[in-house]
């Protein structure tokens, strides 16, 4: 299959820089996700790869072949649209055969490949049905079958699950991932749902205002975010401002909320400011009388609002300087009033100077 290289691509609509100097290298056979809030440019970038949006600058390659100069119908990409875009005037079989007919494939081979594609998406026997007889999930399967049957260089998916209900969404994303592994196809996937992106991808690019903030594996995106935006957009986190103290190579002392921490991976000079990210589940509320494990740092504060969510409980602790820390634990807190929060400094991420 094919690697996708996006080099220095930009596009301006009026005064808005929809895509602003983006470079991404998607590996052959990789499941690559563009993640970001609405208006961040992720769909525009996908449409550039498909050929429905022109580039102001930059270029796009499939393997070694430059494709941004080709018209969209000659790029051999399979695209799955947010609203399915299943042709209502053609049967399910006709929809899946549409791209093969455009490629002048022999009739008997078309029949065979359509049947195989429908089987892959668990719609065998549906070829004669009409789109209006199908449910949303089934329409989505038709759209996927139609896109993969042409054996495209890359599969492009534009928020394909956003019109499905929550349960079906989780089921379908698993199927899409399995299908991708089975076919070994390169996938470029667009979503605004961070959980979906983490669950399904080999790598994720988090985008914001037309720019790429970070490209990394789902685990690194969550555990090693590089900017405050990535840290707060993917999951929830506590962002605290701190001041850098004495340095020692890569490690440094950081003063935050009245406490001094020793952290690694700190950039910036002594006296400089930085932002720290602490995930709610990395913070632990000590039960009365419990002693923090070695290496852990403790902070004291007042227990605030408690939200019981079923599998987990969320609550806030207000520190002496007024900062509110958000915590998450499996059990509701046993303590009340004055409490102690403990955490492993290794799970604190230093993010550079606050914006």
């Amino acid at each position: 299959m094919t690697a996708i290289t996006i080099e220095g691509v930009a596009r301006t609509f009026g005064a808005v820089r929809a895509v602003d100097d983006v470079s991404i290298a998607v590996r052959d056979g990789e499941f690559f996700t563009l993640l970001g809030p609405s208006g961040c440019g992720k769909t525009t970038l996908l449409r550039m790869v498909a050929g429905f949006c022109e580039l102001d600058t930059g270029r796009i390659l499939f393997g070694d072949e430059r494709i941004d100069t080709l018209p969209p119908h000659k790029r051999n990409t399979g695209m799955v649209f947010q609203n399915y875009a299943v042709f209502p005037n053609v049967t399910v079989g006709g929809n899946v055969a549409y791209g093969l007919r455009a490629r002048k494939v022999r009739a008997d081979e078309i029949r065979e490949r359509v049947a195989r594609a429908l089987k892959l998406v668990q719609l065998d026997g549906f070829a004669e049905r009409w789109p209006h007889q199908l449910s949303g999930g089934q329409l989505q399967r038709v759209a996927i079958a139609r896109a993969i049957v042409i054996e495209p260089h890359v599969l492009l998916l534009d928020e394909p699950l956003s019109n499905l209900d929550a349960k079906l969404r989780v089921e379908m994303r698993g199927e899409i991932r399995q299908l991708q592994k089975l076919l070994g196809i390169t996938v470029l996937y667009v979503t605004h749902d961070q959980e979906e992106a983490l669950a399904i991808s080999d790598r994720v690019a988090v985008m914001r205002a037309g720019r790429v903030e970070q490209i990394a594996s789902p685990r690194d995106i969550y555990e090693r975010p590089m900017t405050p935006f990535v840290a707060s957009f993917v999951g929830t986190t506590n962002l605290l401002n701190g001041v850098i103290g004495a340095r020692e190579g890569d490690a440094a002392e950081v003063v935050v909320a009245g406490t001094t921490l020793r952290l690694t991976g700190v950039h910036g000079n002594a006296g400089g400011k930085l932002t720290l990210s602490m995930r709610p589940e990395a913070l632990r509320l000590l039960s009365p009388g419990e002693v923090a494990p070695a290496r852990y740092v403790t902070l004291t504060g007042t227990l605030g609002e408690v939200e019981y969510l079923g599998p987990v409980t969320r609550f806030g602790v207000m520190l002496a300087d007024g900062t509110v820390l958000h915590l998450m634990a499996l059990m509701p807190p046993a303590a009340s009033g004055q409490v102690t929060v403990a955490f492993d400094p290794q799970r604190v991420v230093a993010l550079g100077a606050p914006a």
Binding site: H73, F81, F87, A143, R146
Partner: protein, 551 residues
Amino acid sequence: MRGFFGRNAFPLAVFAVAIAFLGLFFLLPLLKVFGASILDASGKHFTLANYTSVLSNRFFLNGLINSLGIAAAAAVCTVLIGVPFAFCLARLPIGGKAALLALAALPLVLPSFVSAYALVLLFGRSGIVTGALQALGIPFESIYGPKGIIVVYTLTLYPYIVLPVTAAFKSIDVSVEEAAQNLGASRARMLRTVTLPLVLPSVLAGALLVFIEALENFGVPFVLAEDRPILSVEAYKLFVGETTDNPASAGVLGMLLIVCTVAALLFQRSVLARRNFATGARRSAPVLSVGPALGRLGATYCWLVVGAALVPFVAVVVISFMPFSGPVLRTGFSFGNFVQLFERSYRPLTNTLMLATLAACGAMLIGVPIGYVVTRHRSRLSALIDIVATSPFAVAGTVLGIGLVMAFSSGFLILTGTWLIMVFAYMVRKLPFSVRSASAILHQIDPSLEEASINLGVPPALTFLRITIPLMLGGIVGGFVLTFVTVASELSSTVVLYSGPWTTMTVAMFQALEGTSAGVAAAAATVLIICTILPVALVYRLLRRHELSML
């Protein structure tokens, strides 16, 4: 390079054709009318004398006042009739709503001057009802003059209110009304403070259309005004020269008509600018539960209005099958009127069918691509084309006809007296409708369907043929039929442009009215009604979705 020859070639070609067509057959004629109004007799020097002489003439000044007064009165009357009708249709539990809506929309495709003529046959000086009343000793007031004209306009133009306002009532989200009631408003208060204000923009939009249609109509005042001046009729008389040929004064009257229309448009815009109530109903407000008495009252009202509007047409059809001796109607059954009508020639009928077919083809051929480009390729240029292509509806048919004669009776292109100039006039007049109906259908077709086809390897032009056209087909056929029937019953530009061999059915009726052949006129009217009802009935299922887009 790809951009230029690939995706932008099609819109550019459409723009070129649209600009050439509208420039030649719409803007140039208007310019000629304007020119005639501001030039002296030699045609070389600028002068305002034409305007001062027309505006200081009591007769023409009365014409202006009559035209404006009648149009305004028609707008008010249609609102008074149409809004309650729409409310009953949308919100009261009455039976036969689909039939009611279909019958209420029918006057839109029927020729309004036939209704006016029916009024004369029934209530005119020697009318059937008038005669019967006089025999009983009951005095009956004359229906000629503004009164009768307003009655005809009200009965034929009220669908312009009913269709958009019914849709507006249905598009109010249930939650808005529930919120009003939750906050303590009674149902009457809710209707007054929430429901009615929300449909106001649609009421105003409909009223504007009624005003414009009433202002430009030629046939109805021609039948009913007698010697009272009406602008659209006087412009025709001045130009065709019943007394003396006077293009300068005809030009002034034409410009006055256009100015009135534009003023009404601007007034409506300024009122609506401050009210943008797009609520986009998730769930329409439900039919109100009212007592059976109120429901029956609503149903009675609706059927009465629909009946009153259609009775004149039925009466004409019945009368056309009765024998006349001269202008006097006798009882009995006879094909005599039809024999008399077709005695000389079938040409008027074949002309009407041919011209309407050609004009409908032409209007769709130019209008559908314009509608496509305007909807799918948003740009400043396409916004401009949209405005130019939809503005012919604001220009009276007589004025456009006069302009076309002025532009094409000499010079580089001579078309006066040919059938071609009639087809061009019809195409220009119906273009707004074909553009609007095409873009209305396209709004319902998701652009990603076309993108999906291109993505699967089918080039844009082929995609347009294989995906877009089939999906638009129902709408295109509907638009074609509606264009056909409205052209078939067109009189205002025809009466200026036709020449002997190209007499249409409407002109045949017009000529019979001018003479004393009441029977022939009734027969011609019946033929016209058949020509419009039959095609509409054939494709009614297709049309239902597009009733609104023709407004």
